[in-house]
């Protein structure tokens, strides 16, 4: 609009060629007034090279939510494990982290909406075909339970007598039941987000559907273990070290195919998104190794915890970014579909 009346209307809006779109450049040709464009050949066609898909409009809120949701789920499991194995310090940390995670998740999810005031419309329907709808109901179940479980940890602060005294007496039981209930939904909370991303037309996300739930499950456990390692009494963190190892195993084994998906896996191994994914893995390895070595050191524990948390953040943002990159470049849409068509049309050419 502003260009319309200004004396020098805005002309070509040059978008700097980003690192993920390396295939165009302008240069001046010596001895000529005019500019000439040099275009290296592309092996696929598209409409003015514009993306066929609309890149996701989700802001980093959603990448953040992938992390906080996973953290909540993992922490809830840890809380339940600690509850059942009598590790009250770890239990409290797990429950509080779960509540913190789920509270942050709720905030991020609502904040990402185009119409935050209509967040409750999510509860109009329950759609099996919509991972977001399923997730909403999972969160609806998980959130209050996680909240109750965490609040129950405040029971010792209540007076011993009077009505609140009664609350103080029943709180642990209520907390335990709620904690277990939350934990029961926690694995779903941690892994549905893999489906959430995969159930899109975004090539890097969709094609990664077999891997994403495992990556996210591992990442959730890693993050939660990390928080536990940082915050829980060192004496109670032994399971976390095992858990970190298990998390790393799940994430690395489950995610090993990410960047080997073919063309659509490219963003997991290249560019900014690739660097984030790789950083996530490296941090996971470092964090896990450190955790295994840190039996007695509070500092090493904290370092390993931080590495695990950072790993989870990096992985989530890396995966999120990879999807955006793959949707912005038409080649990730066109080339695989072309290959698929070619196979369909010439099924029996192989010897």
């Amino acid at each position: 609009m502003t260009g319309a009346t200004s004396p020098e209307p805005a002309g070509r809006r040059e978008s700097p060629a980003g690192p993920d779109q390396p295939d165009g450049q302008r240069r001046r040709r010596a001895g000529h007034g005019g500019e000439q464009l040099t275009v290296p050949p592309a092996d696929f066609a598209s409409y003015y090279g514009r993306p066929i898909l609309k890149p996701p409009v989700w802001k980093h809120d959603i990448a953040g939510y992938l992390f906080t949701g996973g953290l909540a789920a993992g922490s809830s499991l840890i809380g339940a494990g600690a509850q059942l194995t009598g590790r009250p310090g770890l239990r409290a940390v797990g429950r509080w982290a779960a509540l913190g995670g789920v509270a942050a998740s709720t905030y991020l999810l609502v904040h990402d909406l185009g119409r935050p005031d209509r967040f409750h419309h999510m509860l109009r329907v329950a759609k099996l075909t919509s991972p977001m709808s399923i997730g909403t109901w999972i969160l609806t179940a998980f959130g209050p339970m996680a909240g109750v479980a965490a609040v129950a940890e405040l029971a010792p602060l209540l007076p011993r007598h009077g009505p609140l005294g009664l609350a103080r007496r029943v709180a642990p039981t209520v907390g335990n039941v709620a904690g277990l209930a939350a934990a029961a939904t926690a694995p779903a909370l941690a892994t549905y987000t893999g489906v959430l991303l995969a159930d899109t037309a975004v090539p890097a996300w969709h094609d990664a559907y077999p891997s994403l739930p495992f990556v996210f499950a591992g990442s959730a456990l890693a993050a939660a273990s990390g928080v536990g390692l940082i915050a829980a009494p060192a004496a109670q963190t032994a399971p976390l070290r095992k858990l970190a190892l298990a998390a790393a195993t799940i994430e690395l084994v489950g995610g090993r195919r990410l960047e080997r998906l073919g063309l659509t896996g490219e963003p997991y191994g290249h560019g900014r998104s690739g660097r984030l994914v790789m950083a996530g893995r490296a941090l996971l390895a470092v964090g896990t190794a450190t955790a295994l070595l840190s039996r007695r050191s509070r500092i090493l524990s904290a370092i390993s915890g931080a590495a695990l948390v950072a790993s989870s953040v990096a992985t989530r943002f890396g995966v999120f970014e990879a999807g955006r990159v793959s949707a912005r470049d038409p080649k990730y849409t066109v080339v695989p579909q072309r290959e698929r068509l070619a196979q369909k049309n010439e099924p029996a050419t192989r010897p």
Binding site: A4, G11, G33, G34
Partner: protein, 865 residues
């Protein structure tokens, strides 16, 4: 057509679906080309060479529809011995007068016609755009002519035509137009193969054709082809003018033109028409065949409609009240007079000359030198804000504090806020119902003029000045209604239709008009639109419930005929030429003409009717003369009078052209209207020197997404965003030659102006090989100006003013220019740039190319074939 008239193009697609072949000729590849079967790129301004080539192809191969041609055209008519063709005179016809660059047409006449048959002096005809009078009728000639129906007589029109176009060979077409011979022949073969008894071909042009210094002759050439091929007056045939404005046909029928009165009656000329009788006789031309014989009736009815009871036989129906022309009073002459300070006030009624007229700078400087200006429009257009935002502010040519023009902007009512009729491109009147009241102060033109007239008449009510009688006696009583006292449009339509003075019964046909003052009618060709007191233009019987002709949708003049001269759709005996192309025919049993349309012929005149000797007027039309408004009842392959630049179309180069005319020594139209005003300097063209300073041809036209000067599209959001910036289209070859880059800026320079635009380099434009050279063409849309949601510089600023002699329409479809990369200079630097170009192209003074170039020694090359 797809570009500028998309909804009309549905019928082309319909025809294509049924097997029609579509050819598209255009300087650039457009949306129409994309859907055509064959596209012919052409050098702008060379259409007569192309069409002349088609005429030659038809005649050399005897592919004309001979029976039609002999019976219905003047092919057999023998010409006077005095006639000399361009063949003999290097591109001029006989009768050329060097002193006033116009023709004495007496040598063009038919054999046996008296010398004095030629009416008014041709220079006067040019000055008064007399050619426009022929929109409804031919020029005057005698009804009886000498004929050789074997077409062998060396002076018969057929043979003269054949000799005239003999040099328009396929090679020459290629040399002039840049159209490869193979393509040209493909067009000729398809056109001729699809014409005749069983098939018809249609020629469609958009009115860019009229915007040439030889515009009328373009259309004449098309008409000659269509007559030779028997494609006139028949379904699926004809020459279709796709006009560009909702009621531009109506604006000529009921003209707001200086030289015309309603129904194509000429505005009186001070010397030629001193009295009612001389005026009427100059129109009807005693002795001539056809319906113009009743010109007195039409004239008297108009005067009676204007001045009502005051108009009596004794006072010649107030003929004396009429203002008289003394020469050219056209819009371009007016603008030059404005610059010279001769005009006090100017009304702009829904018109934006600051963008839409040629030589925008002259337009704006003219408006800046008025006492007052009234602009009536929907939006704040450039013509209202030139003193504030015009490009001349930047150069200092207009300084707001020094510009004395008093400007009134009055908001206008839109088409849904008033009722009234539009006449569309096929002469069809369609009534619009009013949907809502206009907002605020917005009013219709009907309101404005009715009340302006009322106020003026009230001011003058006590006047005794003779000059005010015409206003005071004016029949100005129209019923008004509503809160704004809106005059009744239907009452005006009723007056246009005509009525019996006693009793007020509306007339049903112009044949009911009387020349004794007992009837009054504002526009004789529109009589019948209010037949039986019913607004026929408001008829809306669904098309699906009618025949393809749809006679009950709206009303077409004359007499609701949808195809003019449709008598020609039957053979001379009155039978359809073929079952396939049946349209109007003679029913011997009922002894009347019948068919799908209203026959454009006297209903009961049999095909066998032959006029008695010396009969004239309607009685002079034979039963096989379909062209009932022509003086001899024939379609004119050769115009013995009335077309001021020659009886047969001849290729002349545009006034600004980089190319020497390959056909004749005469370079450009010798009779074109020239304005030698200092502001109107023109680029040099061969044979003058320095034409290479402006080496490129540019042409302008419309985009689908915008409308003319943009006042109804650049201000409208959903349209503005579709074509948001001014641009120029160039071929890849020109881009390399001039270093132009896609989407970067370039500026175009002519002797008048430099404008800048974004560059679109596109394969839709191609260089042409013309006369052994490569000619580059540029294309620009002319919709942009400095106001509105989207803005850009105006293409029309580039043009000078050179007019067609017949109708005084400007050559604004072709010119020469230079193009340079980057934005144009600003302020004084811009003026310096123009001075520099003028210096390089000759001298600094105003430059006007010579009108006659036949005597110019021609750089050693013999141009004759």
């Amino acid at each position: 057509m797809a570009e500028a008239h998309p909804v009309g193009f549905q019928w082309v697609m319909e025809a294509k679906r049924r097997g029609a072949k579509v050819f598209h000729v255009d300087p650039r590849f457009t949306r129409t080309s994309a859907l055509a079967d064959s596209y012919l790129p052409i050098r702008a301004g060379t259409d007569i060479a192309l069409l002349g080539g088609v005429v030659r192809y038809i005649l050399e191969n005897e592919l004309d529809f001979r029976e039609y041609v002999v019976a219905y055209t003047n092919a057999a008519t023998i010409l006077s011995e005095d006639f000399r063709d361009t063949e003999d005179m290097h591109g001029l016809f006989s009768g050329f007068q060097e002193d006033n660059a116009s023709y004495d047409q007496s040598s063009w006449r038919y054999e046996g016609e008296s010398q004095n048959a030629t009416p008014r002096d041709t220079e006067t005809q040019r000055e008064t755009a007399a050619g426009l009078e022929h929109e409804s009728h031919g020029a005057p000639v005698n009804g009886q002519t000498e004929r050789d129906e074997t077409l062998q007589h060396p002076r018969c029109v057929y043979q003269v035509l054949k000799r005239h176009y003999a040099r328009y060979t396929p090679e020459m077409v290629e040399r002039v137009c840049g159209i490869p011979q193979e393509k040209f022949l493909e067009l000729c073969e398809a056109w001729t193969a699809n014409s005749g008894r069983d098939r018809t071909g249609m020629l469609v042009y958009s009115v860019g054709w009229t915007q040439h210094s030889v515009g009328v002759q373009y259309i004449r050439t098309g008409a000659i082809i269509q007559l030779l091929l028997g494609n006139v007056g028949r379904p699926g045939g004809g020459v279709m003018a796709l006009r560009g404005h909702a009621s531009i046909q109506g604006s000529t029928d009921i003209p707001t033109l200086f030289n015309l009165l309603p129904g194509y009656l000429p505005m009186p000329h001070h010397a030629d028409h001193p009295t009612l009788d001389t005026w009427v006789d100059s129109i009807r031309h005693p002795g001539q065949k056809g319906f113009w014989g009743n010109a007195r009736t039409y004239g008297v009815n108009l005067l009676k409609a204007y001045w009502g009871d005051a108009a009596t036989a004794e006072n010649d129906y107030c003929y004396g009240y009429m203002p008289r022309m003394t020469g050219d009073h056209g819009t371009y002459q007016q603008v030059l007079n404005m610059i010279d300070g001769k005009v006090k006030g100017y009304f702009l009624l829904g018109q934006n000359p600051a963008v839409g007229s040629a030589h925008g700078r002259a337009q704006r400087l003219g408006m800046a030198n008025l006492d007052w200006l009234v602009v009536r429009d929907l939006f704040m257009i450039e013509s209202a804000t030139f003193w504030q935002n015009g490009p001349e502010i930047e150069t200092g040519e207009i300084v707001p504090e020094e510009c004395r023009t008093e400007v009134f902007f009055l908001p206008a009512a839109s088409h849904v806020e008033k009722e009234g009729s539009f006449t569309q491109t096929q002469r069809l009147l369609q009534w619009r119902e009013k949907a809502v009241e206009p907002p605020g102060d917005a009013r219709s033109e009907l309101w404005f003029f009715y009340h302006l007239g009322r106020i003026i008449r009230e001011r003058l009510s006590t006047s005794t000045q003779p000059r005010d009688r015409a206003l005071l006696d004016l029949n100005w009583n129209y019923p008004t209604h509503g809160p704004n006292a809106e005059p009744s449009a239907e009452a005006v339509l009723y007056e246009i239709n005509g009525y019996e003075v006693a009793g007020g019964r509306p007339l049903s046909s112009f044949t009911e008009m009387k020349d004794d003052g007992s009837t009054a009618g504002g526009c004789w060709i529109y009589t019948g639109v209010y037949e039986d007191g019913v607004n026929q233009a408001a008829r809306r019987k669904p098309g699906a419930e009618q025949s393809l002709v749809a006679p009950e949708w709206g009303w077409a003049w004359p007499a609701n005929r949808r195809i003019l001269y449709n008598r020609a759709s039957a053979d001379p005996d009155g039978r359809p030429w073929s079952e396939r192309k049946k349209y109007v025919w003679w029913d011997p049993e009922k002894a009347e003409w019948t068919g799908y349309d209203v026959p454009d012929f006297e209903k009961t005149k049999p095909p066998t009717y032959r006029p008695p000797p010396n009969s004239s007027g309607v009685a002079g039309i034979a039963g096989d003369d379909p062209f009932i408004l022509q003086g001899d009842g024939k379609g004119w392959l050769y115009a013995p009078t009335g077309v001021l630049d020659g009886p047969m179309p001849t290729h002349y180069e545009p006034v600004e052209s980089p190319v020497r005319n390959p056909l004749y020594r005469q370079q450009a139209n010798p009779t074109r209207k020239v304005y030698t005003h200092p502001i109107n300097t023109l680029n040099p063209s061969p044979p003058e020197e320095h034409s290479q300073v402006f080496p490129y041809v540019f042409t302008v036209s419309r985009l689908t997404e915008h409308h003319t000067a943009g006042g109804m599209s650049r201000m409208v959001r959903p349209l503005a965003e579709l074509q948001p910036e001014m641009f120029v289209e160039v071929s890849p070859e020109l881009a390399v030659e001039r270093g132009l880059t896609h989407l970067d800026w370039a500026h175009l320079v002519t002797a008048r102006a430099a404008i800048e635009a974004k560059v679109l380099v596109t394969d839709r434009l191609t260089p042409l090989r013309v006369d052994g050279r490569i000619i580059h063409q540029l294309w620009l849309p002319y919709h942009f100006g400095f106001e509105g949601l989207v803005t850009g510089e105006s293409a029309n600023d580039l043009f000078g003013i050179s007019l067609d002699p017949n109708v005084l329409i400007q050559e604004s479809k072709v010119g020469t220019c230079d193009v340079r990369p980057g934005r144009r200079p600003r302020g004084q630097d811009l003026l310096n740039l123009l001075v520099d170009y003028r210096r390089r192209s000759g001298d600094l003074g105003p430059h006007y190319p010579p009108q006659v170039t036949t005597d110019v020694a021609d750089s050693g090359r013999d141009r004759e074939v």
